[in-house]
């Protein structure tokens, strides 16, 4: 039994509560343990510090006796099972001794040793041994077990029945004051906020702001990536390490430059920067205006200034030599196509502008080219560029001229119109040119000399103006604190950072100093950590409520990845986040918000085959997503041949449609857990818009009905013409290029539509009729093409005989809930076969709140191959031995029930024995989407029977027929419901639950039951619980 206690390092620990209770009753016993630990501390740590070999450690007689009685027979001089020997413990080197004790600590705590069937120590002996080990390992730092118990994978170690028994509901829940390292999602949201990146997406025809697109146009590296395992992943245990900081240094540099540049465009973004930089930027503006003016019109300016003397100042023209297009033997040779030879947009526009100046009626191409070349030469363009341009024009003059017309250069790329600068500026320009121009100077050289003079003058003026005033520096610090850290600086910070800014300015000037200050703030610990500290007066249990500001962030980050919204900020500022009801009001408000769209998974969205967004609070949906872990299929690439089609495009659609299913269940918010586990309705190749799917299917039906009785297979171009009105009316995609092409398109379309409708199907799935790159027959809600139809194969749906349900989710045969969704089944399978062990482990840990030890490193966890046996037979042979079975009994009987599905999630009654010697028929590697391209192999019948134990309910435990039977029982289990709530607790609290959180969990469970299975009610209950609201300081 486990409760919280405080370690020496201040970490919340867990220990046996009955021991805790007894220690409270027996001060002598605690003294004994402390005495033992001090003895060991003195003996071991002094030697460790000196680095010398230790004398033998003292092991108390009673501990030695327990070890000798129960352990040494297997871990002593005669036998060292698992390569562990305990009789020499006292004489081991310090590091080795601590390592061994850490291992021992875990197996003793969790009663994994002595093994079942061997004599067991009494409870008192076990506790005595564990107390001694705990004291010994803590003398060398935090024990490994303490650290492990903070990890998500150790969450189930606390006894489930005790948590929900009510016996501990009187304990006062709290969370320790803490910093919580930001997640990968918060990192993106933070940078998107400070960089003013606000992406939009057109959804159902309306432009909507979207959170979750991170293509900011600058390169930032996200160092705060969450682990890739399934289940709850984001815990408050992590600390920033060197890798994080190094990455953040580069991120800060990149972001500071970008933020500084934003100020040029948006004056209100950071007004203090605009004010500090005003003088400098005005100089830059004036110089840039002069430079642009000269680069565009220097030839005219020079002519105006020098008139008839201008020619004499020009450099001597040296033409470039252009290679002939003939081959070595003098024959004209094929040249690269025009599109492969063009020189890039900017160069093409430059050539066009030059041509406008010099193209004259009657000039030959040679004369025209020479004028162009002469201009580029006078301007001082690089010889290579001139050569490339003249080569290009020489070879492609006709194509180029046609291109100018085709792409309407005259309208799209008008040359700049000459407008002189204001008279005083023209005067400056003229004086400077006259001062610097020398005979033979090319124009670029003249401009460079002028610019150099103006820059010197500008720099001098800025130096004379001096640094910004102190008030302005203070305003800068204040604004950057607000922009980056979302708070004003404290007086001490204001003074410190103002002084720092002034020193940066002294060293590097205004612009560099501002960027450096931005970098400094981004590298502060409070940028990368969330802060959750108690404030105000402590109650009688030493607990304090979260400060209103911290509470506003805790609530916002519980449900989204973004900072608090304006209402939450206002509530904190107005003192309306100080009671449980205040929390409830804000949590309920956020849960009902639907005015913000979120990209669920950017990698799915990027596929352009499907949408992947939601407008419900993203972290609500993400919990279900991560809990079930079906997105883990995304990095799994599978063999198209074994799939029998195009698996890659089906892959992302599977995830997005599982997301859509979850979203629809959460939106209805009734019996959520049960429906997630048992729904028989799924999305299969659907945009999420029933009406759009209905229209798309009807359109196909209409086209099919129109042509089906015609001899379309033998249509000629004349036949097509007779149907032009209809074709235009239904907007048949891909038509209109040419009559011949139209015939082919119609035949392709009708061949495909016939397959979908000629067997009496009620509606046709609106998938693409063309093998690739063709027009789509339906759109996503954001206007893209709907792709990935072969997702249907994972549901055993034949595309050429599918009564396509336009209204979805719709019933699919042989399915029951997310555990039978192909996304979950693939994510919990191997590349080439199913994985009953991992599926069983998932159910054992996620739904039955139980634990399965890690695979011992001495075990070769590979199922032997055998071409004549099913996977089940091979697995049974491997794991049937008693040493394996003690763990596998917890997994195999659960996971094997899913053998009614293969590793692509297809339902089956026969298992294909995919070995070369079992090959019956080789099928083609490529074909239309409706064709099953799999090779045929011998098969054996599937045995998917199993056994359920661990629900704590005799009516549910027992033999099961298959996964569908298993799922039915799990969905009725109280323990399963509570297990999901335990995981929700971890997700929203960022830590494992303790016995002191018992009331929080019971309340959440009751909230679910009383609300008719509302997950929103669970979230409200958790986020208004003492575990969430109350904090306790870590004692020194």
């Amino acid at each position: 039994m486990l409760v919280e206690r405080q370690s020496q390092s201040g970490q919340p620990l867990v220990e046996f509560s009955n021991q805790f209770e007894r220690d409270r009753q027996s001060p002598c016993r605690r003294d004994l343990v402390l005495g033992l630990s001090m003895l060991l501390l003195l003996t071991w740590s002094s030697s460790a510090a000196s680095g010398a070999k230790l004398p033998s450690a003292t092991i108390p007689t009673e501990v030695r006796s327990v070890l000798k009685t129960y352990c040494v027979a297997c871990h002593g001089p005669d036998s060292q099972e698992g390569e562990v020997r305990l009789d020499t413990l006292a004489t081991l080197e310090p590091d080795a001794r601590i390592d061994l004790l850490n291992k021992l600590h875990e197996v003793i705590r969790f009663e994994q040793m002595p093994p079942e069937g061997e004599p067991q120590p009494t409870d008192a002996q076990r506790q005595q041994l564990e107390a001694w080990i705990a004291a010994a390992v803590s003398s060398a730092g935090p024990s490994k077990l303490e650290e492990k118990l903070r990890r998500p994978d150790y969450g189930n170690r606390i006894d489930h029945d005790q948590l929900f028994s009510g016996a501990y509901a009187h304990l006062k829940a709290f969370t320790y004051d803490r910093r919580w390292l930001i997640s990968e999602y918060i990192f993106d949201a933070k940078f998107n906020r400070i960089l003013d990146f606000k992406p939009f997406l057109t959804i159902d025809g309306t432009r909507q702001p979207v959170v979750g697109y991170n293509n900011r146009g600058i390169i930032l590296t996200n160092p705060f990536l969450l682990p890739t395992n399934t289940g709850v992943r984001y815990y408050a245990n992590e600390t920033l390490n060197g890798g994080h900081l190094l990455t953040m240094i580069t991120n800060a540099k990149v972001a500071s430059t970008h933020m500084f540049n934003i100020c040029r465009r948006h004056k209100q973004y950071l007004p203090a920067i605009v004010e500090i930089m005003a003088r400098e930027w005005e100089h830059e503006r004036v110089l840039a205006t002069r430079e642009t003016f000269l680069r565009n019109f220097i030839d005219r300016v020079l002519y105006d200034l020098y008139q008839d003397k201008h020619e004499a100042f020009l450099p001597t023209f040296v033409p470039v030599s252009v290679k002939s297009t003939a081959s070595a033997n003098g024959d004209p040779t094929a040249k690269a196509p025009y599109h492969a030879a063009i020189l890039g947009r900017d160069e093409m526009i430059l050539i066009f502008h030059t041509a406008l100046k010099h193209q004259k009626e009657g000039d030959s191409d040679e004369q025209f080219l020479e004028k162009c070349e002469r201009e580029w030469f006078n301007f001082g363009h690089d010889k290579r560029n001139i050569l490339a341009r003249t080569t290009f024009l020489n070879k492609y003059m006709d194509e180029w001229r046609a291109d100018l017309v085709k792409h309407n250069y005259a309208a799209k790329h008008k040359p700049p119109e000459y407008r002189p600068l204001p008279p005083d500026e023209m005067q400056v320009v003229a004086e400077t040119i006259l001062r610097h121009r020398a005979r033979g100077d090319r124009f670029n050289a003249i401009i460079d000399k002028c610019m150099a003079q103006w820059r010197r003058q500008s720099e001098q003026d800025l130096t004379d103006a001096g640094p910004p005033h102190d008030d302005l520096v203070a305003a800068l610090v204040d604004q950057l604190f607000v922009k980056i850290l979302e708070r004003t600086p404290e007086p001490r910070e204001l003074d410190q950072y103002a002084a720092l800014t002034r020193s940066y300015i002294d060293e590097a000037g205004n612009s560099q100093a501002i960027k450096k200050l931005i970098e400094t703030l981004i590298l502060r610990s409070d940028f990368v950590y969330r802060s959750e500290f108690g404030q105000s007066k402590a109650d009688e249990h030493g607990r304090r409520m979260l400060s209103p500001r911290d509470a506003s962030y805790a609530i916002a980050y519980a449900l989204t990845d973004s900072s608090p919204d304006p209402e939450l900020v206002q509530a904190a500022a107005d003192g309306r986040l100080v009671t449980r009801d205040d929390y409830r009001r804000e949590v309920e408000r956020l849960l009902s918000k639907r005015d913000q769209y979120y990209v669920i998974d950017e990698s799915v969205d990027r596929s352009h085959l499907t949408d992947n967004f939601t407008n419900m609070p993203i972290r609500e949906l993400r919990f279900i997503r991560e809990f079930f872990g079906y997105p883990a299929l995304l990095p799994i690439f599978k063999d198209n041949k074994r799939f029998g089609g195009d698996y890659d495009t089906a892959r992302v659609r599977l995830v997005s449609e599982a997301d859509r299913l979850v979203e629809s269940i959460l939106e209805q918010d009734r019996q959520v857990f049960e429906r997630l586990l048992t729904t028989e309705e799924f999305y299969v190749y659907h945009s999420g818009d029933n009406e759009a799917m209905r229209i798309a299917a009807e359109r196909i039906r209409r086209i099919y009905d129109h042509f089906k009785d015609e001899d379309w297979q033998n249509f000629t171009t004349n036949d097509i013409r007779k149907h032009q009105n209809f074709i235009q009316e239904v907007k048949m995609r891909g038509m209109g290029r040419s009559p011949e092409s139209d015939v082919k398109v119609l035949q392709t379309v009708m061949t495909s539509f016939t397959l979908r409708l000629d067997k009496g199907q009620t509606a046709a799935a609106p998938y693409n009729s063309f093998p690739s790159h063709g027009p789509f027959n339906a759109s996503t809600r954001s206007g893209g093409g709907l792709g990935g139809v072969e997702v249907a194969k994972c549901f055993n749906i034949q595309l050429d005989n599918w009564n396509y349900p336009t209204t979805q989710p719709a019933k699919v045969e042989h399915r029951k809930g997310l555990l039978t969704h192909p996304a979950w089944l693939i994510a919990h399978a191997k590349n080439t076969e199913t994985d009953p062990v991992i599926r069983g482990k998932w159910i054992r840990e996620k739904l039955l709140a139980d634990s399965v030890p890690d695979v011992p490193i001495t075990v070769d966890a590979v199922i032997p191959e055998d071409p004549h046996k099913t996977l089940r037979q091979r697995l049974d042979a491997k794991t049937g031995e008693s040493s394996c079975w003690k763990c596998h009994r917890k997994m195999n009987p659960l996971g094997l029930t899913f053998e009614i599905y293969d590793d692509f999630g297809r339902y089956r009654t026969e298992e294909r024995l995919e070995y070369p010697e079992n090959l019956i028929q080789k099928n083609p590697d490529k074909g239309a989407p409706h064709v099953d391209l799999r090779d045929l192999y011998k098969t054996l019948p599937v045995d998917a029977s199993g056994y359920l134990e661990g629900t704590g309910d005799d009516r549910l435990d027992g033999k099961v027929v298959d996964a569908l039977d298993l799922i039915d029982r799990l969905a009725r289990s109280e323990r399963v419901r509570q297990s999901i709530i335990r995981h929700a607790f971890r997700y929203f609290m960022g830590r494992n639950e303790l016995l002191s959180d018992s009331k929080t969990l019971i309340d959440a469970d009751q909230a679910y039951l009383k609300s008719g299975g509302s997950f929103d009610a669970v979230i409200v209950s958790l986020l208004t619980s003492d575990s969430f609201i109350y904090r306790k300081a870590i004692e020194k």
Binding site: T221, P223, A336, E865
Partner: protein, 465 residues
Amino acid sequence: MLTNRRRFLQQSALGTGALALMPSLGPLVAAPASEGFPRRFVFIRKSNGIRPLEVALPTFSDQEAARDRKKEAMEADLDRHELPTWLQPLESHKQHMTILQGLSCKMSENGHWSYSSVMGAFKSGRNSLSGIKRATIDFELAKLFPSPFGHIELSLTGDYNTFRTGIVAGYSAPGPHQRNYCYADPQTAYNELFKSVVDPGGVDSENQMLAFLQNDETYKAQVLSGYEKLKLSNHIDSLEAIRERNNRVEKMSGTIKEHLPTINKIHADGGPNATTPEKQEAMTAILIAALTTGLTNVVTYTIDELSTPIKGLPGNETDHISIHQVGHNGGYSGVSADAIREKIRIGHIQQVATIIERLKQVPEGKGNLFDNTMILYFPENGEGHHSHGTEAPFVIMAGDNCKLDIAGRYIRLPYHGTEGHKTLGNWYTTLLNAHGNLIEHYGDLDLEMSRKKLPQTGAIRRFIA
């Protein structure tokens, strides 16, 4: 959890791509190599595939040529054969050369581009971050041989018309879901890598900032205890450690000055007027200096990519060549696509030869720097312009202390999907196993080999010396 500075150095050695950009990182505590010198690796990625026949030896007997064409496993001593024309710049280094044929790369992406996948042996999902499954092989090797910059990535890529410049997204991956940065033009690479010499003021300024932050965080940590204090202590220790590293790199400035390359002015401002061969030469000079100064032991260099503009190619100086067009068999100015392909490769191999020759001039121990260096020249996308990944020919140049028994040979491994076939994963596992990372298998498995139940994990044992 970070517990001490030494662990910080280990963690940060290659925990992030940002390290490669850090202009001012002190040397890491180098892991001692067996002979006391680190191993160095240069990965040179080229686009448009390498067609297997391009690396076939011209002096093969009819029988050998037939076996080679039929993709049958075979070996030949290079010193008994002539090299293909384009490899002849390496003629005098033939004893260090291996031509490795028959590796497949179907578990990485193929077609036009492979992005990070060819060096990670995974599918990158069209270069999506979530598709990056693991640290790429170059980063894995760099972990074994730490250095101040850990890993450096260079690239010459573009948008068909102009070159990318500055610091841009790279193709290597420091870890899962992480994309490395890379230097996209010689001047930027020069400025960033040799900043301690080129811009010492910048380094001082950064140290000032780090010192301020360290004091500030220390002040905040005073009121904390337990695990929360530890979190800030880690932050403070990290800041201090980076300052120390900056100082140590500053102390290397003498060595850096000694090996500082000269970069032509044409490369200023991203070098818009520099030709492709000029850019390659300048990048090579920087690459060599990065190795000879000891700033890094691992460089990944994308010498071209499908959208890299080819300007100034000898014989086609005035043409603006698209590699993509060449891939579709398009010639320029009367020069066939095959001839242009070969000229591009010759340009690459000349750079490889320069690297070898320059490294051989720098003494190290009883030999020279090249003795401890391995250069791998390979296609990013297998056997052609539109590849399927059935073959990925490698040209490997390895110094005498190379831990592989492959030098001086043309090796063709059994073809994809047949008994004894080896994948990119086997090859990378071989590199890792040979240099101290005893990973069982690096990379994803080949799905066809799996379907055929053919063994495919582990190193190519006979290659390990």
